[in-house]
């Protein structure tokens, strides 16, 4: 089984990781999710909710220090699932299982790590994705992640238009947030303007890349 490990950089660094693909690699998928932190209060309680126990692994739960970390971890899962073009399921149904996208969030150290495995890793491989980035932001009220998967080559305009829609949504309408972009099949060199513009819109907090296969 191919395994994806996306490691974190401490905030607010925004630099290409050492194993970032060469310019010219495309974007295979883009996804976004936003959640209200208050909805995840049950995740941080003891005992936690069925939602927390079923959707998140014990390793994910052990990293939390409050509901904001749980909310942010969920947005990472959902944004990556949208970038994969599938959405999430628990174990059965359309979408990749929640636990196949593991998001380890530690807001105390401001670090996040993401691991794709199982159906999520297989889907990423089918898309030709060679790695990914997640831009995360949260406060006591709202958590948000934009995720991108990189690999392949293609039409720069499609991603550019998609990202513009996402960023407009971030600024104006929560429903657009939640709908997200879903999946943008256009491909574009992962150049810095994408990251710069996302940063301006939502405050980039973390940046990930595959470090081993």
């Amino acid at each position: 089984m191919r395994r994806w490990i996306l490691t974190s950089w401490k905030l607010p660094e925004l630099r290409d990781p050492p194993d970032a693909p060469a310019p010219g690699a495309g974007v295979t998928g883009l996804g976004i999710d936003l959640e209200y932190v208050a909805r995840f209060a049950g995740c941080a309680r003891v005992p936690s909710t069925a939602f927390a126990r079923q959707v998140f692994s014990a390793r994910e739960r052990s990293a939390w220090n409050g509901p904001a970390a749980a909310a942010l971890a969920f947005t990472v899962k959902e944004a990556v699932a949208k970038a994969l073009g599938t959405g999430l399921c628990l174990r059965r149904g359309p979408g990749v299982p929640c636990r196949d996208i593991e998001a380890l969030v530690d807001l105390a150290t401001r670090t996040i790590a993401v691991v794709l495995r199982g159906a999520a890793a297989a889907r990423a491989a089918r898309l030709g994705a060679e790695g990914g980035s997640a831009w995360c932001w949260c406060d006591a009220t709202v958590a948000c992640t934009i995720a991108a998967l990189f690999g392949g080559s293609g039409d720069p305009a499609a991603l550019d238009a998609g990202l513009a829609r996402v960023l407009r949504g971030l600024q104006s309408d929560r429903r657009i947030y939640e709908t997200g972009l879903g999946f943008v099949s256009g491909m574009v060199p992962p150049t810095s303007p994408i990251r710069t513009r996302a940063s301006e819109a939502c405050g980039i907090s973390a940046y990930f890349w595959r470090t081993s296969a």
């Binding site: 959640e35 909805r39 909710t49 069925a50 939602f51 126990r53 079923q54 959707v55 969920f74 959902e78 959405g87 999430l88 399921c89 628990l90 174990r91 059965r92 149904g93 359309p94 929640c98 939640e178």
Partner: protein, 77 residues
Amino acid sequence: MERDSFVTKLCAALEFPAGSLTERSPLNSEAWDSVDLLNVISLIDEDLGVTVSGDDLKRCRTVGDLLTFLEGQQAAR
């Protein structure tokens, strides 16, 4: 399955005020977001030992329909 008890838990999972759901209430799962959906699916999985999909829930028009569907799933195990 204790139907009243499950309806109470469903109410909590969907963040509705206590007692606001009855068996005749529309389930309206098409309007749920992913957190609602996963909350309910997780509750069903842990509480009843039945694994359902979002599509299964969408076929249930009312809370009572859902309970009947879940009882059928339990009986079929």
